[in-house]
């Protein structure tokens, strides 16, 4: 592959690559650094690329390895991340002032429930063991086949299937217990509460009913609801959506809060 062709194809993949790294690291800086390092490493090793896999698979493999080096040294988040970060946000006037400023001034500062649902999944998925989190994103959001994921993560098909099944099952269980969008007894209403704050003139319930996830909730098919949640993530580019700046600000807040929380609660 020539450098020109590589550069051209890289431009078509970079958006997905960057959003993938953001979603597994929850860090804008890490996403930018790792994508940059992936480009340099791929360019350096371009002569070794024989086309045994697609270029996208090869690049995701390089990026995943770079991200794993970072992530292995970090503690995994907890399932109740949204409770912890909500409490921190309520005690942080500056966070809300900044968020409201973004909401009022940025073209990417709209509040969209779908974007918050995607952010919420990103945060809670960090409670999964790393391999499970990576497999869930690669398969469910970036639509790689199991055989491609074995190449990306350098593991066996059996283990990819195990990580996927276990990660998916755990996420279904967590959202079933927590998410008020799909379970009336769910403890987390953040996407509705924030809609009330950022879009006070909207009827929140009407707005939420526009998403298939909420519309289908009463049928109670957990697997299908998970698929609908994944569809939301597939449709959103966290760096380019109309709500991206607001959600990235929120994600950055959550990451900082969780890093402090995990450090404080270190055994």
């Amino acid at each position: 592959m020539t450098v020109e062709l590589f550069n051209q194809e890289f431009k078509g993949i970079i958006g997905q690559l960057k959003s993938y790294i953001l979603r597994i690291t929850a860090s804008i800086a890490d996403a930018e650094d790792i994508v940059h390092d992936t480009y340099l490493k791929a360019l350096d090793k371009l002569h070794t690329f024989r086309g045994d896999s697609s270029l996208k698979t090869w690049l995701f493999s390089i990026a995943s390895n770079l991200a794993k080096d970072n992530l292995r040294a970090q503690k995994r988040w907890t399932e109740n991340v949204t409770d912890i970060t909500k409490e921190a946000a309520l005690n942080n006037k500056q966070f809300f002032q900044e968020a409201m400023n973004i909401r009022m001034t940025s073209p990417h500062g709209q509040y969209e429930a779908k974007d918050h649902i995607a952010l919420c999944f990103t945060c809670i998925s960090k409670s999964l063991p790393l391999e499970q989190q990576l497999c869930v994103f690669l398969k469910e959001v970036y639509e790689f086949k199991v055989s491609e994921i074995t190449t990306i993560l350098g593991t066996t098909e059996a283990m990819v299937k195990y990580y996927l099944h276990t990660g998916r099952s755990k996420m279904i269980h967590v959202f079933e217990g927590r998410c008020a969008l799909i379970n009336k007894e769910g403890v987390c209403h953040q996407c509705s509460e924030l809609n009330g704050i950022f879009n006070p003139k909207q009827n929140t319930q009407e707005e939420l009913m526009k998403t298939d996830l909420v519309k289908e909730a009463e049928k109670g098919n957990k697997e299908h609801l998970f698929d609908l949640r994944m569809q939301i993530l597939r449709e959103i580019d966290p760096f380019k959506s109309k709500a991206s700046e607001l959600q990235l600000h929120h994600l950055e807040h959550n990451r900082q809060v969780m890093e402090k929380y995990l450090e404080k609660n270190d055994d």
Binding site: T156, A158, M159, K161, Y162, T166, S169, K170
Partner: protein
């Protein structure tokens, strides 16, 4: 003598075949009790091993285990709670850990042994054996409930979960 060996061989072969049907068997002596179950599973041994060694994941797929705290790795201590005796927490040590082949945990009273063997036809035989006992065993043996039903359920749950994962796309 030849006749005896033939009979013994047939008996052993029959036992080995039957042992993979998920039916538990218990052998009692004065000082020991041993319960075993073996089941044929159509899955990669890595999947079965991953299920058997991921402590926090047990309650999700195994209806006989309420919780396992700790890390299932050689020399580690774990706390096991089961539906068989809901009030009791078993404090156990992982004594053997041979990847995708053998796992043993136990305490002073006994050991539980998990063994995985390839059958050579794309299936594996997974067995679980627990031997309990000792000099004081006759004094408390009647208080220990039968493991048979719990073992059969464990084997059935393991087979179901392993084969579901194996057949996933």
């Amino acid at each position: 003598m030849k006749y005896l060996i033939t009979i013994l061989t047939i008996t052993m072969m029959t036992t080995a075949t039957m042992a993979q049907n998920g039916k538990a068997t218990t052998v009692k002596t004065t000082f020991h009790r041993e319960t075993s179950v073996s089941i044929e599973i159509k899955a990669d041994p890595a999947i079965v091993w991953a299920l058997l060694t991921n402590a926090s994941d047990y309650p999700r797929w195994n209806s006989t285990v309420t919780s396992i705290e700790g890390n299932i790795a050689l020399g580690e201590k774990i706390k096991l709670r089961t539906t068989l005796d809901a009030k009791r927490t078993f404090k156990l040590k992982v004594k053997e850990f041979e990847s995708e082949k053998k796992l043993v945990w136990g305490d002073r009273q006994g050991n539980r042994i998990y063994a995985i063997k390839k059958n050579g036809n794309g299936t594996i035989a997974c067995s679980m054996t627990e031997k309990i006992g000792g000099p004081m065993f006759p004094m408390y043996s009647k208080k220990i409930p039968s493991f048979d039903q719990s073992f059969e359920q464990f084997a059935s749950d393991l087979k179901k979960e392993s084969e579901t994962i194996m057949s996933s796309k």
